[in-house]
C-alpha cells in the first residue's frame, strides 16, 4: 500500500475544507473496510486520507415519532443490527444490517461509508429505497437532503460533490399498517455479497395491498425502485397469482449485470423468485418451495 497522510479533522466544516483543498488526491475514511481493499490492491492511491473518526456528531441512532429514524453516518452495521430501537421500529432494517458481509466487517463498516462507496453488490441501498430513506450531506455549499434514489447515481457513483460528506441517513416513520421485508439470494451460504436482493414495504389491509414500495438491489448497477410493479400491486387483493405477476413485472423492468457472481439471465430469474416469495410471504401466503433464499 502506498504511503499517505492521515488527517483527522475535528468538525465537518474542517473535513469539507480539506476535501476541497486536496481534490482527487484524497479519500474519506470512515470504517475503511472497503477503502483498505482498494488501496492494498492499488486501485486507489490517495496521497491523503481524511478520517471522520473524530466527528462524534456523525454517530448515534435516534427515533422520533414525527421525524422518524436518524442514523448517524458513522453508525456501524453492527450498531443497526443490535439496536433495540431499530429492531422494534424497522425490523427489516435491523435484519438487513445483521446480514451485511460478515461479523468483522459489520463491527467496522459504517452505513454512511457503504452508501458512499456505492458498490452494487451490497445490502443497504435497496433496503433503504423501500424505506424511502434520505441522505443528509454537508459541504462548503451547506447542507443538502437527498432522497436515496437521487444519492445513488450509478455503479460506484453517488451525487456527492467532491467537498461533501454524508452526515446522516433519515428514514420516515412507517404507517401503522405497514409491513416490510428485506430478502436476498446468495449463490452459496458462505458468500458475503448478495447476487440479488428484494426489499418490500407494503401497507396491508387484510389480503389487500393498499400501497407498496419495491426495490431491487445487488442484481443491477445500482439499487432501484420498481414503480410499475408498485402501481400494479396497489389496491389489489394479493393472491399467489398476483404475487407471481408482480414478480414478473419486476423481473421484466430490471437490466441485471453479468459478472463472476452470475449472468444477467440468472440474476433476473433469482430476482423473480425472491420477489414472488417475499411479496407472498408478506401477505401470509405459503411460498416456500424450491430454491432457498434468506
Amino acid at each position: 500500500m502506498r504511503d499517505f497522510d492521515f488527517l483527522e479533522p475535528a468538525t465537518v466544516g474542517e473535513a469539507s475544507r480539506m476535501l476541497a483543498d486536496l481534490g482527487d488526491d484524497c479519500r474519506v475514511i470512515a470504517g475503511g473496510t472497503a477503502l483498505m481493499l482498494g488501496m492494498r490492491q492499488r486501485m486507489l492511491t490517495p496521497t491523503h486520507l481524511v478520517s471522520l473518526g473524530r466527528l462524534d456528531a456523525l454517530r448515534g441512532i435516534e427515533f422520533d415519532e414525527q421525524s422518524g429514524l436518524r442514523i448517524g453516518a458513522l453508525a456501524l452495521h453492527a450498531d443497526l443490527a443490535r439496536s433495540p430501537l431499530v429492531q422494534a421500529r424497522y425490523p427489516m432494517l435491523a435484519s438487513m444490517a445483521s446480514r451485511v458481509a460478515n461479523p468483522q466487517v459489520r463491527n467496522q463498516g459504517t452505513l454512511g461509508g457503504n452508501l458512499c462507496y456505492a458498490d452494487p453488490a451490497t445490502d443497504p441501498p435497496g433496503c433503504l429505497m423501500a424505506l424511502q430513506a434520505q441522505v443528509v450531506v454537508s459541504g462548503s455549499g451547506g447542507e443538502r437532503v437527498l432522497g436515496i434514489e437521487e444519492f445513488c447515481v450509478d455503479y460506484y457513483t453517488t451525487a456527492l460533490e467532491p467537498d461533501e460528506v454524508v452526515t446522516e441517513i433519515r428514514i420516515p416513520p412507517l404507517p401503522a399498517d405497514a409491513v416490510g421485508q428485506y430478502a436476498r439470494f446468495l449463490r452459496t451460504a458462505a458468500e458475503h455479497r448478495p447476487l440479488a436482493s428484494v426489499a418490500v414495504v407494503a401497507r396491508r389491509a387484510g389480503a389487500v395491498c393498499v400501497e407498496a414500495r419495491l426495490a431491487v438491489g445487488a442484481a443491477t448497477p445500482i439499487a432501484l425502485r420498481l414503480r410499475r410493479a408498485e402501481a400494479f400491486l396497489s389496491g389489489k387483493t394479493v393472491t399467489p397469482d398476483v404475487a407471481a405477476e408482480a414478480a414478473d413485472i419486476i423481473a421484466a423492468d430490471i437490466e441485471p449485470v453479468s459478472d463472476l457472481r452470475g449472468a444477467a439471465d440468472y440474476r433476473r430469474d433469482m430476482v423473480r423468485i425472491v420477489a414472488r416469495r417475499t411479496i407472498a410471504g408478506l401477505f401470509g401466503l405459503a411460498s416456500n418451495q424450491g430454491t432457498t433464499h434468506e
Binding site: M1, R2, D3, F4, D5, F6, L7, I29, G32, T33, M36, L37, R40, Q41, L49, S51, G53, A78, A101, N102, P103, Q104, V105, N107, Q108, A190, H192
Partner: protein
C-alpha cells in the same frame, strides 16, 4: 508522509508506538509488538486469520489502520490464556478437533470469543453464521463448531 504516535492497550498492556499512516493493525501487532499469534492470511479481508478484538468487538486487523485504533484496547490470541491456564475455547479447540494446521485458529478463537460474549448460549446455526467471516481449509468446520458449542457450555458453568 505522516507518522503518528499512538497509545494503544494490547492484552491489558499499555504501549506507545510511532507508526506511519499506512501501518496496518496486523503489522503493528506482528512486526512492532512481536505478537505473532495474529496471522496474515489472505490480506484481502476474506479469510479472517487476522481477526482480533478492538474494545471487545472482532475486526479484521488486515483491513484496519493502526491509527484507527488509537486509544483503544486490542485483544489478540496471546491475551486469551490467564495465569498459564488456557481459555476454555482454546482447551475445547484442542479436545474437539477444532484445528489441524492451526493457521486459521487464532482468528477463529477471537471471533468465537466475541460471539460468546454477545450470545453465551448460541445454537449451532448461530455459531455457523457467526463464523461467516473466517475460513478454515483443513477441518471442514464441524470440529470448530463443536468446540465452540462445548466451550459455551463450560463457560456458562455446566
Amino acid at each position: 508522509m505522516s507518522k503518528h504516535l499512538i497509545d494503544i492497550t494490547v492484552n491489558g498492556e499499555a504501549h506507545s508506538v510511532k507508526v506511519p499512516s499506512r501501518r496496518l493493525l496486523a503489522d503493528l501487532l506482528r512486526d512492532d509488538l512481536h505478537l505473532t499469534g495474529t496471522k496474515r492470511g489472505c490480506e484481502t479481508g476474506i479469510c479472517g486469520a487476522c481477526s482480533v478484538l478492538v474494545d471487545g468487538e472482532v475486526v479484521k486487523s488486515c483491513l484496519t489502520l493502526a491509527v484507527q485504533v488509537k486509544g483503544r484496547a486490542v485483544t489478540t490470541v496471546e491475551g486469551l490464556s490467564q495465569n498459564g491456564e488456557l481459555h476454555p475455547l482454546q482447551q475445547c479447540f484442542m479436545e474437539h478437533g477444532g484445528l489441524q494446521c492451526g493457521y486459521c485458529t487464532p482468528g477463529f478463537l477471537m471471533t468465537s470469543c466475541a460471539m460468546l460474549a454477545h450470545n453465551p448460549h448460541p445454537t449451532e446455526a448461530e455459531v455457523r453464521a457467526g463464523l461467516n467471516g473466517n475460513l478454515c481449509r483443513c477441518t471442514g468446520y464441524n470440529g470448530i463448531v463443536e468446540s465452540i458449542l462445548v466451550a459455551s457450555e463450560k463457560m456458562r458453568g455446566n
